[in-house]
């Protein structure tokens, strides 16, 4: 399709457009190099809850299954999430981490779920300290103006499963800084971090139940890959030309990210709800702020290697590519973040970010 014949939508939904005090990085005549799409949520959704539940262990015990069963049952109960998925990975300390991500599009439902007697009791139970495994809960409640999503395709994943629809082709993608330009609040705000995260140790836990006092405008990105629709030749190409560079970049962030503002990076394999691997991975990383993420993405050799490999991959395959990519980015106020770690090792999530 000649680019002059393509029609574009602005990524920021109409109901969140406002008089700008800050300009977009590209002009109205900018045309992206390939089609991409953003999730469109019901304008009545003002805020969502994204909760990352972790189970951490070196040796499997029945406590792992008990915890998963508890989570799963609670999700099926009243006020459960609108969508959830499961993944796992082995971290830098050689612990297995099972990560369950749940999404709510009504924060009050999430709060009711969180505070339901049964759920609260289970989480606060002293038994969690002696189960022999670790647990974490990382919770974000971004407002609609704090988030953006971008997809190479129109199938939903993650938070966007809760969306009403996918957009048409959006204009704001394919250039560095486009994630910022898709976040509605960027129309009027620089989205800068303020303050520092601090540790709060529960004094009744022998130091094993730790909360984090968050700082303003932490940035979280979940960035996913789905090779379920690739044929054998394309899958080989992905795993030979792209995936090894992705793995290297994710390892760099995991092991050396702190120096450049990346608090935590988990590159996980998605599984079905029974734990069987499926043809999807994602990374979830936490950044001091969006500008730190921008700098790594646009200038670090590890990410540029991934980027160049992906550009080559898609320009070789064109519209026949079966690989699907997406991400969701949120810049979250301090009051909309919550981190709690029970019996986890010291480089787990935000624990690695604080002295």
């Amino acid at each position: 399709v000649p680019s002059s014949d393509r029609r574009f939508e602005t990524a920021i939904p109409v109901h969140l457009q406002t008089a700008r005090s800050r300009h977009k990085r590209v002009s109205e005549s900018y045309r992206p190099p390939h089609p991409s799409f953003s999730a469109r949520f019901d304008p009545k959704i003002l805020q969502v809850a994204m909760a990352y539940f972790g189970i951490q262990y070196k040796e499997w015990t029945s406590a792992v299954d008990t915890a998963l069963a508890h989570l799963s049952a609670s999700f099926d109960g009243p006020d459960g999430p609108g969508h959830w998925d499961r993944a796992s990975y082995v971290d830098e300390m050689e612990f297995v981490n099972i990560v369950v991500v749940a999404y709510w599009d009504v924060p009050e439902q999430f709060e009711r779920w969180l505070n339901a007697t049964e759920n609260r009791r289970w989480w606060e139970d002293e038994a969690r300290l002696s189960d022999g495994i670790g647990y974490f809960r990382e919770i974000y409640l971004p407002r609609s103006e704090d988030s953006e999503t971008i997809f190479s395709h129109t199938d939903k994943e993650g938070l966007s499963v809760l969306a009403r629809a996918m957009s048409g082709e959006v204009q704001e993608h394919g250039y560095w800084g486009s994630a910022r330009d898709r976040i509605p609040l960027s129309q009027v705000d620089a989205l800068e971090a303020r303050g520092s995260a601090e540790v709060i140790v529960d004094t009744n836990s022998s130091g094993r139940r730790i909360r984090i006092r968050p700082h303003q405008n932490l940035c979280i990105i979940r960035s996913g890959q789905d090779w379920g629709e690739t044929d054998e030749a394309e899958r080989r190409m992905y795993f030979e030309d792209v995936e090894p560079l992705l793995t290297a970049g994710m390892r760099f962030l995991r092991d050396e990210g702190r120096a450049i503002g990346c608090y935590s990076n988990r590159f996980v394999r998605m599984t079905d709800r029974t734990g069987q691997p499926i043809a999807k991975t994602y990374s979830v990383s936490l950044w001091r702020d969006l500008s730190d993420l921008e700098r790594w993405a646009e200038s670090h050799p590890t990410h540029l290697a991934i980027f160049v490999a992906a550009v080559r991959y898609f320009s070789e395959l064109g519209l026949t590519a079966g690989l699907r990519l997406y991400h969701e980015v949120s810049v979250v106020r301090a009051e909309d973040q919550s981190f709690e770690y029970v019996n986890c090792h010291e480089s787990t999530g935000m624990l690695a970010a604080v002295p």
Copy 2:
């Protein structure tokens, strides 16, 4: 030096700072990854002239030397440039092009030089059509608010030879979009192209004397490399790891640049005034506007390959690196541009940009 101890200047000189309607791409807390410097001109300089004089031939004839002698003598005459240098290269049509760039910091002096009877007569002489060689004149008169320079070192080159001094470390570099942030006019203007360039053929020239009617906000960049201070080991590293990628990127722009907004690219070897090669190269390229240059630089595999190689090179060598890099960028109003081609082949300079 710990970055917290480094002091930075803003690249936009104080006398050109103004109330912003457009924000910089980075916050005040941004710290560049390595030191860079901008030329500081006398605040009394409001506009400069940058003139690219070309001599084009496939077979050397004495007309080449005659033309060079004319130029050189005229530069030594009244109202000559404050600085000039010479380079040459073989273009895509296998013509040799000698390129002499001259800089004036008083536009009125340049106009007097240009219109001096002797110079005007030589240029307009019908003999130029029958000398058997080609000539071109590409002239830009950017105002101080239209330009920026950046250097990896504090030795002057190009336009900056006319500067009063070099700055201290500037904040605005090391991220995509920093060239824009260094151009004073970007404080209040998007620097977008308007209109299209058009050909104007001199009807008395049998189609061999061609002028270009310019469009608003063409972007010119001269970007240079100087390996004169490298030792043998570093020079080998430069020519093995960086220079081949630079050559490939420059060839891409030369041969395929039109599709992405690059009208012309010349990657030239500098010479002394007698034509002997020296240890310097530069590219000079013309772009529809700054945003087209930004997109290529920040996302095209050919430039990212150069960028990543340069990052690796400098991180390996650190402060011991002898390689020197610089560029000068201007976004030029239509009335401040002038292009004239005499007897040149059709892909010369702006001739390649017009139907």
